[in-house]
Amino acid sequence: MKGSDQLVDMALLYFSLSFLCIGGTIPLVPDMHRFFVDTRGLMTTAEFAGYIALAQVAPGPNILYIALFGYHVAGIAGALTALTAISFAPFVMMVITTRMFTRLQQNPWREVVLRGLAPVTVGLMFAGCMVLTRGFADWRAWTLAGVAFTVFTTTKLHPLWMIGAGALVGVVFGM
């Protein structure tokens, strides 16, 4: 596929996903993985997971890993295309919502819909985590993830420290 075709291909993917990213973009990870790794073969699962981790270390809102996927495919143009496409629907919807904020605030359906969607969103986030574990090389990665998960649930340690520790463990044990 030519570079420009790939760009359009990716823009279309993110444009369509931008309507669906309720509860952030993490529930979209299975769909993105299918696109970049399974059907288009643009990167490996390890690279895919690496970009997500890299974005966690850097500051900023957590859609930026999407720009990294774009950058991987088509450089700066790819990063900007991916980010613009994924932001399209949220941006337009938010501008409209702001104008009718008070009415929406009083609508009794708001709470009902939010409650109904919560389990589905969380289920999709689980699926995303499971997809990422396919990139785990061996039992050491599983152990590290297990320990990290325990630390996250039992302490209030900032995630950045744990990610740094993860890098250190990775180097020391040659994962």
């Binding site: 850097a58 969380v122 289920g123």
Partner: protein, 222 residues
Amino acid sequence: MLLRSDEYFLLWIHLPNPARAIGTLSVTHLSLSYHQTMLDSAARQPFVPSRRALFVAFLQIGVSAFGGALPWGRRILVEDRKWMDEREFAEIVTVCQAIPGPNMVNMAVFVGTRYHGILGALLAFVGIVGVPLMILLLLNNVYHAFAHVPQVQSGMRGMAAVATAYMLYMSIKMGGPFWKRPWGLVLCAVAAALALFAHWHMALVLLVCGAVGVALSKRGQL
């Protein structure tokens, strides 16, 4: 007390000497009406941050947001800038959750639109995303320059494992009240299985399971 101590002091030193001598009682009375007019004029002309201030505030949020931007948004918008109070912030966050997109980016668009229309929304969006994007691309280039070093690869795998665990932790924390409802757990598991094993597209999962979820929640079972 409706007055801050400095306002109180300013009023006091502007009063003529006999009034000072009479003491606190009359001063409090005077200052209350003075303060009331101040409040009225503030209500008539609501505070609107300049475009520049808007951009800078969201740039600050973007750059300081490590692992979740929401706490930083609260700190900068509510505590530092006082553009909104605690309750309003929470309400806007719930609206942002109902609209697709990451919460804090949606929040930027909301605040931008509210003060300066579409242009404000664009400014706030670029503010929160722009500089972090540059930092990340730089970091990415550094990583790729050393990607052939086996230690860098190992470190990256370790980081990825922890990041995955963090994602899992976040999704459990996000779940909220439905963990205690059996139907919520079933729906959650079904949605995950459909995406993972049946390879359904997200849109289809959201449509089918979302409809079931809304129906259940309408009956008060979620």
